[in-house]
């Protein structure tokens, strides 16, 4: 179970210098395990999320599915996605997946964010938005491979699931976990959840006949602190836009980390260039200039008029 100590920050967006709390405490990484094979789509977690976070009512939208609304919203962080999917043998599967922030080990939102401390990652792996530091640029939306951060046009801030960092820091499990009636949601250390998930996947493969069952914990973003057990881990897209290989755009990794400072340096060479031009070559004066008396070792003596 989570640590009772206050949350320590290990990564901070756009922050100059070291992170004060980094490595200051032993904290185990937390993890939410979602077993999609035992989810019944009751939406208790959706309600629990809205209730615990005291969020204003978000109108629902019916689009011929059981889904509450097409996508998560700035005030609706937790949404069960309902998807119908046909197997190769012609049989149907009705897939339900609890969709929320994945709390990536390498968060694209945090990498993309240009505001100091607007996005932080705690030592326990939770990625949290600090709205008071948010400048509303929405680069995090572009950086996120799961389409999670949602913009509130009124406050011009971005919001998303906090993994109930307030509850976790007090030693409680997230609200969604507490509400789940089937026990498809679990919360604990990453290590424990990984063990539980792998065992469940093994059971599905060996006992229940889901030969492709497995654990979704994509290593392209260093793993996530929300992991899934899927009936067919080879086709996560069937669960409603769950990418098989989630990736952070290169703009926010290679370009932002390396080429931005290098580019600035190269650009500033222009300033050095013009200063040195003046020092070495001097100005281009209007003609005629006073006549040159002699050129002595690069030194021009101008004749007095």
């Amino acid at each position: 179970m989570a640590d009772r100590k206050a949350l320590q920050i290990q990564q901070m967006s756009a922050h100059p210098g070291p992170i004060a709390g980094k490595g200051m405490q032993r904290q185990s990484e937390v993890c939410k395990l979602i077993d999609t094979t035992t989810c019944i789509g009751c939406k208790a977690c959706e309600v629990a999320c809205v209730e615990w976070n005291d969020m204003p009512f978000q109108p629902t939208m019916f689009d011929n599915t059981y889904q509450t609304m097409p996508d998560t919203h700035w005030n609706y962080w937790n949404l069960i996605k309902f998807n119908e999917s046909q197997h190769s043998d012609g049989s149907f599967a009705w897939l339900m997946r609890k969709h929320q922030c994945m709390h990536c080990a390498d968060p694209g939102c945090l990498r993309a964010c240009p505001a100091d401390g607007a996005i932080v990652q705690y030592a326990n792996g939770i990625v949290d938005f600090q709205q008071e530091n948010c400048i509303g640029c929405q680069f995090c939306v572009s950086g996120c491979p799961f389409n999670i951060p949602k913009f509130n046009p009124e406050t011009k801030k971005v919001y998303k699931c906090t993994l109930c960092s307030d509850r976790v820091s007090a030693g409680l499990e997230p609200a969604c976990i507490k509400s789940c009636p089937t026990g498809c949601l679990h919360f604990g250390t990453k290590e424990d959840m990984k063990y539980l998930a792998e065992n469940r996947a093994k059971q599905l493969r060996e006992v229940s006949g889901f030969t492709e069952a497995g654990v979704y914990d994509p290593d392209t973003i260093g793993g996530t602190h929300v992991i899934y057990v899927l009936h067919d881990v080879t086709k996560p897209e069937r669960y409603g836009d769950l990418p098989a290989k989630p990736r952070i755009p290169l703009s926010f990794t290679v370009w932002k980390e390396w080429f931005k400072p290098i580019g600035l340096f190269v650009s500033m060479l222009s300033f050095v260039g013009v200063v040195m031009h003046y020092v070495l070559e001097g100005p281009l004066r209007t003609q005629p200039q006073p006549p040159v008396k002699e050129i002595d070792g690069g030194i021009e003596h101008r004749k007095e008029n």
Binding site: S267, R285, T286, Q287
Partner: protein, 243 residues
Amino acid sequence: MATSAERFESAGFINRVGRTVVYAGELLRHRAYARVLHWMYGIFFFLALLSGFGIYLPWIFRFFTPLFGGGAMTRLLHPWFGLGFVFFFMLQVINWVSVMRWTPSDSKWMKHLPDYITSRHTMEPGDVGFFNAGQKLMFWEIVGGAIAYLITGVIMWFPEVFGRVLVSISYVIHDISALIMLAGIFVHIYLSTFGEPGTIQAMTRGTVSEAWAWTHHPAWYREVTGRDPYEAMEAEKERQSKS
């Protein structure tokens, strides 16, 4: 006295705004209209540049954002600064597009760029008109840059409309455009002040000395005065040595 090019600013109503005094020994270089435009997009350029710095590398340039009321305000204002820049620059493009047309002599000028940088010629080649090839190059770079700024900027302004992939591409293009213009602004300021004394008054009072004109823009000098720039220079030299 008219400038060489028939430009939009020559239209009657625009000439009624502002005053340009041409003293003896001077030539009219930029009318009030071109000068006002220049300083308007100059102001917006620096507003956009400084506010952009705070977003470009916040861990170095965090001190720029408080100038604009903090990070959120900087984010809010930056696109408007950019639009201001593009708007006034666009008017200048309309005003200057004819004199900025690239000619074969400009290509020749570019080949001799090292001679220009090392001041090997004391006077510009005789075919350099109202603007030289370097100025034209800078102008067209800014035209391209402004178009890139506008397109990528609007995409980043409204990410919910254009989607994350376009935003992440725009992000890089916007940055590259800014880096090129940042490098360019140093050259621009240097050449108009320290690098070529007597230049800045073209954009402040609107006039330049005749000596400046025959030195830096001989063909333009010939066009507006009817005199040969080199002969004029020699005559001036003669006059100076006698006195």
